[in-house]
Assembly symmetry: C2
Homo-oligomer: 154 residues x 2
């Protein structure tokens, strides 16, 4: 048997038609998807030629130095299948170079090329602007708190 003290708002109703119980516009998942869409659009407008994931991989590679492919994937929150495609496209454009690891024959060691490093440097200022523009609808005082909370959801 159920507790009678459960809240009304989200409780399943026995006999009636609940209907307005689930409001899509208030669900985290939906809002996350929409915020992501807007961010993607801002990014694409500010940095054409590099997707956010490609830029993230390149940035990490510049930040951390040479990495194995899967390690780079972990550092950028992409699974092995996803990072492969991203790296393939970066390699095809000469932004990332690959070499076999002599100490572990399974591994591929990736590193940013000169062109890759230059592309990262060239895009960095724009990337900061993208982040700022994305957060623009929030009051300045809210932004850090929002980022902190968002980070906790990851």
């Amino acid at each position: 048997m159920k507790d009678a003290k459960t809240d009304r708002p989200a409780a399943p109703e026995p006999g009636g038609s609940p209907a307005q119980d689930y409001v899509l516009d208030r669900q985290v998942g939906f809002l996350l998807r929409r915020a992501n869409q807007r961010h993607l659009a801002i990014f694409a407008a500010a940095i054409p030629g590099l997707t956010p994931t490609q830029f993230a991989a390149l940035a990490r590679l510049c930040e951390l130095g040479p990495q194995s492919q899967n390690a780079l994937g972990r550092a950028t929150a992409m699974d092995a299948a996803t990072i492969k495609g991203v790296v393939d496209r970066l390699r095809a454009r000469g932004l990332v170079a690959a070499a076999r690891d002599p100490g572990d024959r399974r591994r591929i060691v990736l590193a940013a090329t000169e062109a890759g490093r230059a592309a990262f440097e060239a895009a960095r200022a724009a990337a900061h602007r993208v982040s700022a523009d994305t957060l623009a609808p929030l009051a300045p005082g809210e932004r850090q708190a929002f980022l902190d909370m968002l980070a906790r959801l990851g």
Copy 2:
């Protein structure tokens, strides 16, 4: 040994940010992507058999009644190409029915079937739990504020 702290490459930044500090883990886009990943995992575990987008489309259809395909796409923040695939899959499973609009021969009028409505009802409680679980890392008092801010970014 390397000078890692006072590294100032070819980016002349007079008085502004030192430009070296592009920290991926603090960028909104990256955090949004990671939060989305976690939410997706929670959703998939709680509601196997329906993706968040499919559930969103079904929910909107139950909420708003019969809609044209593109109108449903707008109501769920999906472009025409995306909503088509989602609707195709829902139709293939008998959760959504389609009929031509006699008043406008371009349009397809979509409606949830009995099975579709039942699937929505059956999943609704779980969907609420998904939202709650996603927000679980936040203190109860923070959640509403977070959602409000997130909504403003959409």
